[in-house]
Each structure stands twice: as C-alpha cells, then as structure tokens.
C-alpha cells in the first residue's frame, strides 16, 4: 500500500481528488491531506508519501514553490499537479520544475489512470 499526499486549499477539491483516485483504481492507498504548499512541504518531510498530488494556486505557499523547495532540499518524491490551469506555459513550468505530470481540472478518472500509470 502506497501513501498519497493530496494538497489543495479547497476541501471540496481534496474530496473530489480522493474520490477520483478511487474511481481510477487506486482505492486502498493511504491518503493524507494538506491545505497548502507549506502544509504539503511539512507533511512530505514528516509522512514520507510515495506520491504528491498538488494544486498549483494555494495560499501560504503555492504548488510550484512547494515543488521547488522539495527538490532544493534533495527530496525526490514523485510530484504531479492537479490544477485548473492547463496551458502550455503552465505545463512547461511544471515540467521544468520536475513535476511528472499536470492534470487539468476538470478531470476524469481516465485522466488520473493515464497520468498515474507506472508512478505507483
């Protein structure tokens, strides 16, 4: 069983992401939640998740700064964005920062299954 960290400032969206993970065939994994990038950073260091699914636009610390802080500290936990912003520019920035994928909202369980294949 893997541990997945879901970071989003919206409780509604965290719930939808967790539900979609289940629908995509990732039921039974240990899910932990973070309310912003700072919380995700702290919980990554304390909980050691196997995958981080993070929103981009969050208060306190956004997703891209969280990813940059993780990589700067030597942490290589697989990281994917789940964000409303799926433009080529955002995808390029995510890729350059070391994200494995960017899932644009709205998404489907099929999108999750395609993006997570081979990651967990």
């Amino acid at each position: 069983m893997s541990k997945i960290l879901v970071a989003d400032d919206s409780r509604v969206m965290r719930q939808i992401v967790v539900r979609t993970l289940r629908q995509a065939g990732y039921a039974g994994h240990d899910i932990i939640e973070a309310e912003n990038g700072r919380d995700a950073l702290d919980k990554t260091h304390s909980e050691h998740p196997d995958l981080i699914l993070s929103d981009w636009n969050m208060p306190e610390m956004n997703g891209i700064d969280c990813l940059a802080a993780l990589r700067a500290s030597g942490n290589t936990t697989p990281f994917g964005f789940v964000t409303s912003e799926g433009s080529d520019d955002m995808r390029a920035r995510a890729d350059a920062a070391g994200a494995l994928f960017l899932i644009a909202k709205p998404f489907t369980p099929e999108t999750f299954a395609e993006s997570l294949a081979g990651v967990l």
Binding site: S10, V12, N57, G86, S87, K105
Partner: protein, 157 residues
C-alpha cells in the same frame, strides 16, 4: 480550443468551459441549459452566491460566477458527496469558489499570457463590477430551472 486575442473571446467558448466543468462534477442527468430570457428577474427571486477570480499578466480581467442558492447547495452536496447532512456556508463557499477557479483557469488558458490567477473570492449576493471593466462574454444558463451566470470582464485600467 486555441489561444486567441482577448477581444475575441466567444460566448461559445465560455459555454463549452462551463458545460465541461458542470458535467464533470454534476453529471449530465440534469443539464446546464443556455438561457436567453431575463435572468436578472430570476436572480431577484432568491438568494444568490457569487465568486470571482482575476487574471493578471498578459491579459487583465475577471471571471465571475453567480448561481442561485439552490444551485450552490446542490453543487456543494454533489461535489462533497453529501446527502442529508446540513451544509455550512463554508462548504458552499468552498464549492462555489472551486467552480470559479476551474472556469477561470480555463478562461486564462485562452487568453494571452503569461499571467497569474488569483485565489477565488466568494460572497453571498450578486457581483458588481467597476466601471473600468468591460464585459467580454457572458453565458447565461439555468440548472434545474434556477439561474447560473458566468461573466468574463476585461480590466482596461
């Protein structure tokens, strides 16, 4: 969809974005129907929730969503997978804020960039726009007979 000049944002693009978001999270059993009637009267008949996000950068503007409170409640129950549990205002604000975040993020992708999207601001009540904001596109619809409005305004300041 392709990136286009801000002045050319079509209502059909806004409709496509709204319908895609709607169908993804609310299913398609109760469709979001385009409305060509006087929605202001429908909004005046009951409480309304509004949410807005702004885009700053290559394009300056605001995306707002206004929904009847019954729509906001149904949206929140569906997104949170809640049935009988009483909803709090925080739950509704969260769901309506996420709705405008998704629609705003997709609108931003169609506009000249690079730019940044603000966090959503949500309120109980109608939105009012400053005089420097010009309406670019508006999608009026009904959901289960109750009004839904998505508006994109360019800020010319």
């Amino acid at each position: 969809m392709t990136v286009m000049d801000a002045a050319n944002l079509e209502v059909t693009d806004l409709q496509a974005i709204a319908e895609q978001v709607w169908t993804s999270y609310l299913g398609d059993t109760e469709p979001l129907l385009p409305s060509f009637g006087p929605l202001d009267d429908a909004f005046a008949q009951g409480m309304v929730w509004s949410a807005a996000v702004s885009v700053h950068g290559g394009w300056l503007g605001t995306v707002t969503v206004e929904v009847a409170s019954t729509v906001a409640e149904q949206l929140t129950r569906t997104m949170l997978a809640l049935e009988a549990t009483a909803l709090t205002d925080a739950d509704i604000a969260d769901a309506v804020g996420e709705l405008v975040n998704m629609i705003g993020g997709n609108v931003k992708s169609l506009m000249p960039g690079p730019s940044t999207l603000t966090l959503p601001v949500v309120a109980a009540g109608r939105t009012a726009s400053p005089s420097a904001a010009a309406e670019l596109a508006r999608f009026d619809a009904t959901y289960a007979g109750r009004p839904v409005r998505v508006t994109v305004r360019a800020d010319h300041r």
